[in-house]
């Protein structure tokens, strides 16, 4: 080999190396995108968009009934259902805040115990609440109505309210058929509900009712939840810039590939790549729909929260679960999910993976709303196991350790990406209290 040949090889390769370096640094990520991501990353990106069709709600026979949705929308905004006449679903699920309340901890009649999750796109979930203690949207909707810290109402008050209101009763009967005869106050007291405390006055009144009468009330009450579900199934966010970008990646449309910033594209590459975010925040909703213990140390004065462990027990005991007598598909797929529930002890301190769609407009974050900003959330993950010092509930899941250290600029890119997940706003017809049916 001659010296000249040797120098030529070195020179050529050095030039090539320099070209690679410059290209990688300056490569416009959307140009046309496919060179910027690995094959696996592209496949992962395609799994996140589009949001897709709403899954069926087989346990709710009126899930897609328009009249039920209209009734449900009225109930969603109706504070008369509450114990003090001042709290509705919309008190915590405020349309102006992407159906959250902007608070760390929800506040209805009294201060709650957890952060309010959004109901936007909630119909894509299998499990509801941070602890998964409901397995349908309609069963979920019933619990806050009677929770003393939330709406603080009771099912007898609510069914009487509907039956006594001519317009509401007509709207109900149009969807569900005749209401049971509720006028006899000896059989159907003005106020009653089941309660964990069997000596509570409302629980005593409930237990004093005949079983058949309790069932009749439960039927009406569950139907009202199904109407609310029919409305909430319409709360599906419009396409986000990220969705447009993915359309552009698939089609090669350069204009659509400019739907998100270069920083967001770098953030996306981290999200589906080395940062391992999409292990849990997977699929079109950016959630695996499952439960994880991130090892969040208890805050000063915070009451230990067992999360999914008690959620499983409550779900099994709930007469409104998917396999129960008020389900419209008690032998369907949701029953299978109940059959294979994990052991509660294995889920101690685990909470549901939240969707990341609209995450930039649903601060604060985590089940207890401890982080005010997305950067604080990323800082937590980037610290690894060191972030879990202090008193924990249960055991930090090893998956959380797969997030690597993130530099400030990487966090900035990830935040830019997360901001690209904000969907187009819903039409006012879905976000405002409707006229009385």
């Amino acid at each position: 080999m001659t010296r000249g040949y040797f120098l030529a090889v070195i020179g050529g390769v050095a030039a090539a190396g320099l070209t690679i370096a410059v290209a990688a640094a300056a490569a416009p990520p959307g140009d046309p995108g496919h060179g910027f991501y690995t094959e696996d990353q592209l496949a992962a990106i395609y799994r996140h968009a589009p949001l897709g069709k709403l899954p069926p709600g087989p346990t709710d026979g009126v899930a897609d009934n328009t009249a039920a949705a209209t009734l449900g929308q009225f109930l969603f905004f109706d504070a008369d259902l509450s114990g003090n006449g001042k709290v509705s679903c919309a008190t915590c699920h405020q349309p102006a805040h992407a159906f959250t309340d902007g608070r760390s901890i929800a506040k209805g009649i009294a201060l709650g115990t957890r952060h309010t999750p959004t109901v936007l796109n909630a119909a894509f979930n299998h499990w509801f609440f941070w602890d998964g203690r409901a397995d349908s949207l309609w069963a979920q909707a019933l619990q806050p109505l009677e929770n003393p810290r939330e709406a603080g109402g009771d099912r007898l008050h609510i069914v009487h309210l509907v039956a006594a209101d001519t317009a509401l009763a007509r709207a109900y009967q149009q969807v569900f058929g005749p209401l049971p005869p509720l006028a006899d106050r000896a059989r159907f007291p003005a106020h009653a509900r089941p309660d964990a405390d069997p000596h509570a006055p409302l629980a005593v009144a409930w237990q004093a009712m005949a079983p058949a009468d309790r069932t009749a009330v439960d039927r009406v009450y569950s139907n009202l939840g199904k109407a609310i579900e029919a409305y909430e199934r319409k709360l599906v966010g419009g396409p986000a810039p990220f969705d447009t970008y993915v359309e552009g990646l698939r089609s090669g449309d350069a204009a659509k590939q400019r739907a998100i910033s270069d920083a967001a594209k770098r953030g996306l590459r981290l999200f589906v790549g080395t940062a391992n975010c999409d292990l849990c925040h997977s699929g079109p909703t950016f959630s695996d729909g499952q439960f994880h213990n991130l090892g969040l140390p208890l805050l000063p004065g915070e009451t230990p929260d067992t999360g999914r462990a008690d959620g499983i027990r409550l779900l099994r005991a709930d007469i409104f679960n998917a396999a129960g007598p008020f389900s419209d598909d008690p032998a369907g797929p949701a029953k299978q999910r109940l059959e294979f529930l994990p052991a509660p002890a294995s889920q101690l301190g685990a909470f549901k993976t939240p969707s990341l769609r609209n995450v930039a407009v649903t601060a604060p974050y985590m089940h207890d709303g401890r982080f005010a900003t997305l950067r604080q959330v990323l800082d937590f993950y980037a610290q690894g196991a060191a972030a879990s010092h202090g008193r924990l509930v249960g055991t930090r899941e090893a998956t959380a350790n797969l997030v690597p250290h993130l530099t400030a600029s990487q966090e900035t890119d990830l935040i830019a990406f997360l901001q690209s997940l904000t969907g187009a706003p819903l039409p006012p017809a879905l976000t405002e209290p409707p006229p009385r049916p």
Binding site: F6, I20, A25, P404
Partner: protein
């Protein structure tokens, strides 16, 4: 001379690529295990660690569904006489992702599968993989006062 030229070339490429990845916001080398769709063949049979039992995976859905329930079917044999099926054995199963293994699968599979024995084979229903990547099944076999543990690796879940 040729070898020196190759070494110099390799050094130049390495030196060029490092800053390139760094400037593009990528981490190199990766410090964390990369998870994602797993591209490897599933374990089809495994001996327990004490070699007392051989466990064979008889049926496996192709591909394994992502975020969907599926069944597996196993057969158990005498590890010292691999042609001899052990139809009276008992089988229990734990599953989780590879990275959770050392933590005893805490927060592993979010499902409690059921094991049913029929015609000398074991049907495991209620398997559910909610994360892409390599999953590990920990199979505990007991029979005739002996017990052993075998491990299977399954890929989740296609593209």
């Amino acid at each position: 001379m040729r070898r020196i030229a190759y070494l110099v070339v390799a050094a130049i490429v390495a030196a060029s690529a490092g800053p390139a990845f760094a400037q593009a916001g990528m981490k190199m080398p990766m410090k964390m295990p990369m998870e994602g769709p797993a591209h490897f063949a599933a374990t089809r049979q495994a001996y327990t660690k004490n070699h007392d039992f051989l466990v064979k995976l008889v049926t496996l859905p192709q591909p394994i569904p992502y975020e969907g329930y599926f069944d597996l079917r196993f057969a158990v044999y005498d590890g010292h006489h691999p042609a001899k099926p052990l139809t009276d054995a008992d089988l229990t199963i734990l599953a989780g992702m590879r990275h959770g293994l050392k933590h005893g699968f805490a927060h592993g599979m979010q499902s409690s599968p059921k094991v049913a024995k029929s015609n000398g084979e074991f049907t495991v229903s209620g398997m559910y993989f909610h994360m892409m990547g390599p999953w590990v099944l920990k199979m505990t076999v007991s029979e005739g006062g002996k017990e052993g543990v075998a491990y299977f690796r399954l890929p989740c879940c296609g593209k």
